[in-house]
Symmetry: C4
Subunit: 492 residues, 4 copies
């Protein structure tokens, strides 16, 4: 039986709360207090069509997974649903104009340029979700800053007419030594979401890692691939291992070539910029000091299923359910790299999750510099593939990682920003810019192939220097009440 808009509209309160998503009605009354994103946002759509708000931040199968079938009320005759007159807000207008006045794509000369444009044109809440990070966001900025503490010792008079920066990752030949790493909620930046990145990866012959928390469904993203295009799967491990098993088996069946188990996020981080952007002052004043989790931003809202109990003891089980190479994403100390070798996994991604999890987790590049000499000392450097991600913005960053021993680097936010600013063409150009920079910089350091990259091409003596807590601690600086010399007396 098809419901009418009027019927749904009656259930518009805390006591009886129905919402419409993709033409179907759901009774979420009992679910309200459990909603990871808080009740408030749902109540805003009580009795109404919530599709537009729901879509980008929920994986497509969310309702099936989390809402009991008995609460699925069935299809709604959408013609009977009152269309809410959409009033353009001041922000809407500002953003519409910002899009219209974007610089020409040809003016994008580096990856940071896309970030500048994305900041201008993206919806404020979407920007906050992508750009935010843990606590004071020092770690996020350190990720890029750390590369700048590494300087080159380039070779000269090498015939570099032909330079080849293709390489292999887990046996797959790729045209450039980076991959598109997994990032959540692609539709916040562009209506097409992750499949857009699939197409760009195809065009530039690099690997895409599919995120668990994608806006597109896993199959949509796999379907978007063409020919022998290779994709990997990033996995948040569910408390319910059966669900996890199904995901893994399905991925393998669909042809995924690598399983990247996220190990740095037993709990998703607090990101205050994101929380602050989402905060809505509903007039309620000071009341419940200890209820701190009223608004935790998009990140936590979508991640409550992640299993904090995941441990080394689970690895054999993963090895038993799949033949895909298994890699641990988010390793942060050399001791755990050695453990990974002992556990028999095929690789690790040194990563601090783009600075979004533990504040003051060291940059991947610094952990890499700590790791490789130990592995070489132990003769383990070929037993495992090491990847790094976080803060990569320039081809020089990529080359530094490879000189230190990385097989490749993951790049995430920059492609999201390029996509948010200019869609497919943005990502396309971003990759083309990296290709240009790679070619030039391979020549300038005097290497013709990835094999020639080695630590002697770098000066890393300052890499470990974290003097005086730079990147700057913005909030502390803001609240500090600066000393002043005595002012002149006032004239009167």
């Amino acid at each position: 039986m098809t419901l009418t808009g009027a019927e749904v509209a009656q259930h518009n309160s805390k006591d009886s709360c129905w919402v419409i998503v993709h033409g179907k009605a759901y009774d979420v009354t009992e679910f309200l207090p459990e909603h990871p994103g808080g009740q408030k946002i749902i109540l805003k759509y009580a009795g109404k069509d919530a599709t537009e708000e729901f879509e980008p931040i929920h994986p497509p199968d969310t309702l099936d997974k989390y809402l009991d079938p008995s609460k699925h009320l069935g299809p709604v005759n959408m013609a009977t649903v009152a269309i809410e007159e959409k009033v353009e807000t001041a922000e809407d207008i500002e953003k519409r104009e910002a899009v219209a006045l974007r610089p020409a794509l040809a003016e994008m000369y580096n990856l940071l340029d896309f970030e500048a444009v994305a900041k201008r044109v993206m919806k404020r809440t979407a920007w906050a979700y992508y750009s935010s990070a843990a606590d004071d966001e020092i770690t996020m900025r350190e990720n890029h800053a750390a590369f700048q503490r590494i300087w080159f010792r380039p070779k000269i008079l090498v015939d570099v007419e032909k330079v080849d920066f293709s390489t292999t990752m887990l046996g797959t030949k790729v045209s450039m030594p980076f991959y598109v790493t997994a990032t959540a909620l692609g539709k916040l930046g562009h209506p097409e979401g992750e499949v857009l990145l699939t197409r760009a990866s195809r065009k530039h012959d690099v690997i895409q890692m599919i995120p668990t928390l994608a806006s597109c469904s896993f199959d949509e993203i796999m379907d978007a691939a063409e020919g022998d295009q290779v994709q990997w799967l990033q996995l948040y491990v569910n408390k319910d291992r059966d669900i996890t098993r199904k995901i893994v088996e399905h991925a393998e069946r669909r042809g995924c070539k690598g399983l990247f188990i996220t190990v740095d996020a037993p709990q998703l981080g607090r990101r205050e910029k994101d929380m602050r952007t989402k905060f809505t002052d509903d007039g309620a004043d000071v009341q419940s000091g200890s209820t701190t989790d009223n608004s935790q931003g998009a990140a936590r809202a979508i991640s409550s299923f992640i299993d904090p109990a995941l441990s080394w003891a689970d690895i054999p089980w993963f090895q038993s359910i799949t033949k895909m190479p298994i890699l641990l994403k988010g390793v942060q100390r050399v001791e755990d790299v050695i453990k990974a070798v002992e556990a028999g996994v095929q690789g690790v991604v040194l990563s601090n999750h783009g600075g979004r999890q533990l504040e003051f987790a060291r940059s991947a590049i610094e952990v890499l510099a700590e790791t490789m000499p130990v592995l070489r000392e132990m003769g383990l450097e070929d037993k495992i593939e090491i990847y790094v991600d976080g803060g990569v913005r320039r081809a020089t960053d990529i080359l530094k990682a490879l000189c230190l021993g990385a097989k490749g680097v993951g790049i995430g936010r920059p492609f999201l920003y390029a996509m948010s600013a200019y869609g497919f063409e943005g990502v396309d150009r971003a990759m083309a810019l990296l290709r240009d920079e790679l070619e030039m910089n391979m020549r300038l350091i005097g290497c013709t192939s990835v094999e020639e990259l080695n630590p002697s091409l770098l000066d890393v003596r300052s890499l470990g220097a974290h003097g005086n807590g730079v990147p700057k601690d913005v909030l502390s600086a803001a609240v500090y009440d600066q000393l002043r010399n005595p002012p002149q007396r006032s004239k009167l």
Copy 2:
């Protein structure tokens, strides 16, 4: 015999100066030149009711202690005292509006947020007293900055479903590894003063250290505790040891569980921001260069009784008068920690007094990193409990201290700011935020209990780097007359 307001009002000059405090009159004529806060402030209230000014910055028993009984003139019929029409000053209005427009409490996401609000809503002089520090306030800022030179080496794949960050301090079980450290003059921030902190400590099951220079009386603060709530006593040692003995014996009798003798303040520091805020230009011009102590801020005004002669030789005496554990608060070098072990005290607090005493005293966290390896080398690490305070603003700061070997950390100003901004609810939320951060960060570093925290989880190589005197030297930068390239000629 009860005095009338008119009688008191006649004694309104330097030659005969009476004031009313809490309904009683006092003859302070002879006391004027001895007043640690200077005569000026008293003379402002000569012949009038000074209660409102007197209250927050004097311990309740001040008059009994410091003014000869012969000068206690007895009760005043307050109905006969002319009520001063209170004219709202520009600052009063600004602050009243600032309070009205405070952000919602739910928008407070970290401890620095409270500081930002406190700066807006507090009376300027009160803010100056809480926020000021020694000389150029470099040490105060270094206290927090030092934590940011420590980076984590987190473990992954540890089952962190359940994390437990409770611990014990001097045998008391606490729910979180911090305590509310002693800070003076709580009523400057909130009319309830320190008892508000007592209640919040109770709610969150942490220990409160009662300050000697509290605005509430010691007994008021003890009385505010409930059940088996544990409190400690911070002690400034009086020149008159009899007074000190009475305080200590009284505290023990009332059930205090620890005696923290302040050892970093033989003389209370000069805090120029505080002094500058209190300065009142009374029209007098340049005259007496060498009389520098005309205005020393609130700090010195209340502290003239502190004994600068206190020394190691006094420790046995303290041990003889109390069975409470004795701890030295303000130790600043490993040599003195070892001395403390030899002296048989139960613990030390590494501290530079929040940067309010000796400018360029190192941060507690840096002294801790120097201390623990030496103690371990000497086999003394279990002979004594080590606490640190200063600059703690994030759970990561707390965890770093515990990894390095601290038993717990003291937090002072942040709770004062939370209290000044939002009262009890503010402190409640501040503690809840720390609890949230602790839980998350325990998980993210891969530890399930306080016992698992250890130095291998940290990279402290940069901790000792004080390059180029950062934090920034604000005054020097302000007075420096920057070089300029030659300007263009003027058009005319």
Copy 3:
């Protein structure tokens, strides 16, 4: 047969594109897609006289070299060419006024002052070409910053009445220990171009290195020399070695005294500031993401002939075609200095090309500090002359390089800026200022001759410190969205 302006003017489109340069017409229709600077700029002058645009950024023999003789259409009767009414643009007016209001030359007290004036008076595109550098321009700024990490250990009580800072370079006696290094496109800064530098070098008795990419022809620059004035040749090696051979043989015949083969530029760098300045938004919107090379600034436009295959194997060939001393310009690691000794060349210039090539190539002064101890250890320090360039702005910079073991330093941009700001008199004064500074600082460090300069006069312990990626990463800082404390509620 002489063409008329009207005839040429008919060929004003992509389909048939003629241009006039120096009174002769050329058919560039087929050349359009090959133009290193892009078609757009040529099409702007289709059918017109392009001399003024062409002149400063093309070596005089460009058309002969790159355009097939069949496309040389012969002389144009310039009287028949319509003179384009030159409309003064807003920038033209601004610059004209800036020139009129320049500070007096006598106000120039140091080399940076010239840069400040040049920035004001130069055409924006010319300024961008001179001042731009690779990627984030961190390397360019590091070049000067590195000198500031070296401090002096001066000697006192040395009779310094007479100080002599003359020295020899490749056997030539020079009055000061620097030379004018090769920089491209001198006419962008001043209509006279490089010959102006020739005259200034003569006046101050220093050597000029003639650039391959000069605006004046090689012979013009040689002809401008007087008496026994010494000049060197900087060489970009052409893919066509025959052209290179002719250049070298011609230079030797004309009396050049040193051949400096550029080895740090197998491909000329991307300089984004330059590219951005040249970008012209022609209304075309987002389209071709992967076509990144549509606008690469002046640098690449003029350099497509450079051979990226140049290698150590080519050195003997150079030695076979000339008796001039051969030096490698752009060496960047001690290993390659040793190779250079083994290859039997007479010297090297440690250089990162003014920060215009590889971003994060270390400064020459840092490479020098790495190199000399190794050479001394190997007994090779006298087998080769070591020069450095990059970032030299003060006599103290020069003296530091000499103390560390350099034979001399090259100075480039500062003389271009002086020339652009004040012509010959500017360069003259710039050199005189250096002379003054050299005299004073030789005295102040207690040395009377260049021979006395040695490493013990320096404290270089901090030279290798690249902590926290300073110089500042401007773009990253700009795109970073700073955290904020919660704002006050809005009043209404």
Copy 4:
């Protein structure tokens, strides 16, 4: 015969130039080209009374010394000299108001406060002379910054009721461990000049070092001393040793107790801020590039007599002409301290001349930290007294120097600023502030006498860190054209 104003007024040109100074006329026509300060300034007063301009920047005996007696034209009847109507300039008015609105003296809480006021009230040229330093003024700022790289390791539980920071210098008992070091041209800051400092030194029982380039005459300054007040003499050694001998013998006869020979100024430094302030654009345009010395500020104008040939060989001669202790002022490396011991002098002042001479000369405090361990190793630490100056602004600076082994510190500019801002009372208060700070900080580091100060009270590990050329390079930063992301298109 007495001249009339009218007679003098006729000689008002380059061809015949007379000036009046202190009521006497002088023919300076032939002297014009030799004037160290340039002709321009003299010609401004040709035919007029130049006393007001002449007075503060020339030692009183200048004319007798430098102008041949034949050019002394004798007394002028001042009643006949036209009094120039003094028109108040915009700067005069601004400064007059600034003086009127100075903060109360009692608001001065530290030495930097005086500098802030002095900058506001001093004549711009006078301020420039006092505040300027060499090249980019990095060294001047480093002098203070270096102290901030030293942190304390204070002792606790020391009986500090009585602290004594008196000490002895060259056998003289002083109340505080600093002296007023020699600074030139005191009357630029205050009409009384150096004698004002004499009186303040007397009041606070510290030693004053009398400068060679004082505005007051040597005898005036000696005469201003009272009782057994001790003074020292700072000496610039004249090319004419006979003049030097007379100065030294006279000083000894007058009772000077120490001879401080300046050894860091064989040539007085270029101070560009000073030069720029003095520059007068007389309409002359670009002309003579190589004439750089047209305006060198006050410093060089007054110092042309200094002998750059002074060397170690001269020391025995000094020892032969005086029994005063001889000290070398401006030593900058440990090797020269050892030489000083061998030469048998009584002491050295480690100093870089307030950063006014050699840019990038290390701070005295850093040289001290290098020196003392070597002296102790060689057993020479008691053979010589070591003083330091430069950058001292806080008592903590003084105590750090003493901990490292200095006998005392010299303070210069801060007293000049205090004097310029508030006259005698300013200097009086400045010294009283230091006394207060010394007392407090002696207590806070746990020392009761100067003898107890020792290196273990300090953490100097970061002292030698000059990373990234901080203090900031202002001019380089100003001329750097920052990169920008592409801007939005313009709306039209």
